[in-house]
Subunit: 339 residues, 2 copies
């Protein structure tokens, strides 16, 4: 990101954009032509997914098992959609049996793969297959999962998937990788109302990212340099190797946290290796100890959100920070502040 | 921007955000509390201005004298507003007499200060005063003007002003500085419908940028490091000195371009020093010569947009690139490629 700038229509920059698209397709495991990066953070990716698919009056079934599911429902309502909410207990996944009765007439079924607020991993395949059988398009939030857990856009039949750069891609925040299936692109082309966001209008954005190179807005050049390098490192390591690394070190961390008296919030069998939401051992002050980790060891862990506010930590173990020595250093630091 | 990252709720990062806000107020010449940076490029700033102020059915008078005025009208229509267009010939400013008959019942009057597509400078004060007399709020696009020309948000009575980082602030593209007057904030609070964009909802954004620090979306940390440094350099030079530098060197460039047979597109008296749209001397191929400047001298000038497509250049002389030696180097390069 400290590279000298190029113009957003400079031929060298356009080649770099093409490489970013190719690498994003590999990362998302998709052959979708419409794959690029939205010029905003992960939440802009969420908004891009929903504002392009949904027209006023459309039915969206939205799975809610934490903060980011709530956000999806909020965004969908702002599109004028009729939102049918499916709620799971925080920490637990959505069950296909909850979703099925709501599918009649739904245009979109939308849910979160890795719920950053609870550390819960949502199984995708059964929900996705059921939604597609009912004729709905599947929108998947992969902000915290992409490059940290298997994300199989094509194999799972996901129509729109979005992510963020600052999680398991280990790039600074500021871009939202997105991919739209041919079916989603057709649905967008068949809209009878304009997309309510000019900035996030996929049809216009793909005329810049595609071969036409029609100016839309000035791309965030330095951020794209960062994403290019981040993706290069991810693919150089190999997705499978990277997933395995997150799985292995996540298990080490969670085992040691158990031993120290922390309690995992997400239900067993549905826990993310890369984001562990944990209640602190009895009588410990989560926020004071979080501050101690930062002040004494320069380690930042997240605070609890929603029902977890004030009595939990959310520990990220993502991308370049998910390494043996980082886990050891973190565990030592935790032992010190608990001491 | 190559500084190591901080978390978006890290106390050190929050202090940096406060400094960014203070410096932005100085750059915009405003005391508006609601002054911050939108996490997107200048066009996201435009969208943030309009989606927050406009509800379906509201009347927006939009001045159109180039590509960016057209964009404003498009964005306002997507908000469901009734758009009353005021058109000026490309290269000419809007006249208050054109605007006056359209003000009845208007909630917003919106126009571009520095039209990047034509090199035209729009006088703001008379239009702004007239709009406010009629009870409308004034939205000003200062993407290319901020820190290159006087922008006086408070003195001119502008209600919402937005800019981009990559013009006269000389920061990479990716953020949109914005400021909302107390009147605009009240109007937003009085809305009867939700803001259609969750990502750009100013009421939610100000809870993060303000003292509450309520998490909204992850801020683009590295971009904010860049903006902080860019603003520091701007204010260190001093706004008046910077405006004068742009004015002086812009005059040098335009005089030499005249002598070389280029023809300025914007009307005399309304030309921007920092963005000069020029037709090439008779018989010259604008795009081939633009490419020659890039290949032989690593200088990028913009191509023509709209009626200027294919037979013009748009030459930027902004921020750090607006220096004596850069102007000399550019003029030598132009003489070479014309030779």
């Amino acid at each position: 990101m400290s590279r000298p700038l190029l113009g957003h229509l400079d031929p060298d920059f356009l080649s770099l954009m093409d490489e970013v698209r190719t690498m994003l397709r590999q990362a998302f495991r998709t052959s979708n032509e419409t794959t690029f990066a939205v010029s905003g953070t992960g939440s802009a990716g969420m908004e891009a997914a929903l504002v392009n698919l949904l027209e006023p009056g459309d039915v969206a079934v939205v799975g809610i098992a934490g903060v980011f599911g709530e956000r999806m429902a909020d965004v969908a309502r702002r599109c004028g959609a009729q939102v049918r909410e499916v709620r799971a207990e925080w920490g637990a996944p959505l069950e296909p049996a909850q979703v099925e009765p709501l599918l009649e007439g739904a245009k979109v079924v939308s849910f979160v793969h890795a719920e950053t607020s609870t550390g819960m991993r949502q199984p995708v395949e059964a929900l996705s297959a059921m939604a597609r059988d009912a004729g709905a398009m599947v929108v998947l939030d992969a902000v915290t999962s992409l490059a940290g857990l298997p994300v199989e856009v094509d194999a799972w039949g996901v129509d729109v998937c979005y992510s963020g750069t600052q999680k398991c891609l280990s790039v600074p925040p500021g871009l939202a990788p997105v991919t739209f299936s041919p079916r989603a692109v057709e649905a967008i082309a068949a809209r009878t109302t304009p997309v309510q966001s000019w900035y996030l209008d996929v049809s216009m954005l793909t005329r810049y990212w595609g071969s036409e190179r029609v100016y839309h807005h000035t791309a965030p050049i330095s951020m794209l340099f960062g994403l290019h390098e981040g993706l290069r490192l991810v693919l150089d390591e190999g997705l499978e190797t990277r997933w395995a690394r997150h799985g292995r070190l996540g298990a080490v961390l969670s085992k040691e946290l158990d031993a120290l008296g922390f309690e995992q919030f997400a239900r067993e069998g549905f826990r993310l290796p890369q984001l562990q939401a944990v209640r602190l051992p009895e009588g410990r002050d989560a926020d004071a100890l979080r501050r101690a980790l930062l002040d004494r060891f320069d380690i930042e862990v997240g605070g609890g959100l929603g029902p977890l506010a004030g009595n939990a930590w959310r520990i990220g173990l993502m991308g370049e920070s998910c390494h043996e020595d980082a886990v050891e250093f973190l565990l030592e630091a935790i032992r010190e502040v608990l001491d």
